[in-house]
């Protein structure tokens, strides 16, 4: 799961993940999306840029 | 003592001497979650 807050500054960034993922998969430039979402510091930007969702890979192993 | 579950055939297993599923022979078992209520600190 996407971390709730930015590790460095503590801004809540998990709320933007769904929209970021949708628009990124649609082929939009991540820089434009992040600017749109109002993430101006590079600490918050890297949280979304570098995130890989693995919960669906974990779920079968119960 | 809480029971175990076989990782392959998902059946409930009791461990006696060997760690092995009596139904399919698989050697990987999961420990089942206990029935008790667990309190954790959110830190």
């Amino acid at each position: 799961m996407i971390p709730v807050r930015c590790f460095t500054c503590g801004k809540v960034i998990s709320t933007e993940w769904e929209e970021y993922k949708k628009r990124r998969d649609a082929g939009e430039d991540p820089r434009v999306i992040l600017d749109d979402l109002g993430l101006e510091r590079y600490c918050c930007r890297r949280m979304l840029l570098t995130h890989k969702e693995i919960i669906d890979d974990l779920n079968p192993y119960q | 003592m809480s029971g175990y579950k076989c990782a392959r055939c998902k059946q409930k297993v009791e461990i006696d001497i060997n760690v092995r599923c009596p139904y399919c022979g698989h050697r990987i078992l999961f420990k089942e979650r206990g029935a008790g209520i667990k309190t954790v600190k959110a830190r």
């Binding site: 801004k11 709320t15 974990l58 | 954790v40 600190k41 959110a42």
Partner: protein, 273 residues
């Protein structure tokens, strides 16, 4: 001492603190970060959880959710009349029960007191597959950022000294400094370079312009960057649990109370001698 706001919203404030000293600016910053109390989930009682996340992980995620805080409504647990056991005066209770397949969000966290609900209902907590289930109860309490970062109500909270750009008479308007400036603070005028109106505050004092000026042949750079140690440019951001204005006023009152009590202690000691 004077504060002039260039921006004041409920979640962001930018202001210039003038006629002050670095010691005050820094203690103000530190008080805002670590001494302003707010609500955050501390104890989580888990009845059932067979999701892909461990109980501790789930509890940690819950703890980071910002909760709307009314400081007059709750007391710190250690100062409460219940003696730290937990009562309605020092604790806010939430329940969560969800069954998959679904995405559990912070809006599924049902608060007993709607005034202390999560700031936003859109925070994903855990994704559940079919047959997975999470049932839990969470207790939030008031504390400060000194104890744990989840009780810290400010995000980006910092200051810099006010930049001063002096352009000497020996400037030949070559424009190298304006090209070099990363924040686009300088522009080329007829006889020399000038600071663009309202852009001075953006100067990061990196001194690239000084280097460019020396590089263009002058023995002594015509442009000099220094800082005014009595003026401070502040940025304060809130996570939404408290408005920035309340954070600032609380921090200032707290600072005042603390210095007053120091004075009291000092007079007591000197009186006793």
């Amino acid at each position: 001492m004077d504060i002039a706001f260039s921006r004041l919203e409920s979640e962001v404030a930018k202001f210039v603190l003038s006629e002050s000293i670095p010691a005050f600016a820094n203690s103000f910053r530190r008080t805002m970060i670590s001494d302003v109390p707010k609500l955050a989930i501390e104890d989580v009682i888990i009845y059932d959880n067979n999701s892909a996340l461990f109980d501790e992980m789930l509890a940690h995620r819950l703890g980071l959710i910002p909760l709307k805080t009314n400081l007059s409504e709750y007391k710190k647990k250690s100062e409460c009349s219940c003696g730290g056991e937990g009562c309605s005066l020092c604790e806010s209770v939430y329940t969560l029960s969800a069954e998959g397949p679904c995405l559990v969000k912070s809006s599924d966290l049902i608060a007993q007191n709607p005034d202390a609900a999560p700031v936003t209902g859109e925070i994903p907590i855990v994704k559940l597959e079919k047959g997975q289930k999470v049932v839990l109860e969470a207790h939030a309490e008031i504390n400060t950022g000194l104890e744990h970062a989840k009780w810290q109500s400010t995000l980006a909270c910092g200051y810099k000294t006010y930049p001063v750009i002096t352009i000497g008479d020996n400037c030949d308007a070559c424009g190298h400094c304006a090209d070099e400036c990363a924040r686009h603070v300088l522009k080329l005028a007829k006889k020399s370079v000038e600071v663009i109106d309202g852009k001075l505050i953006d100067c990061s004092m990196c001194k690239l312009c000084e280097k460019a000026c020396v590089g263009s042949g002058w023995e002594d750079a015509a442009i000099r960057i220094s800082s005014d140690n009595t003026k401070f440019v502040f940025v304060v951001e809130s996570d939404g649990s408290l408005p920035v204005k309340e954070i600032m006023t609380y921090a200032l009152t707290d600072l005042k109370d603390k210095s007053d009590s120091l004075v009291d202690v000092l007079t007591n000691i000197s009186g006793a001698l």
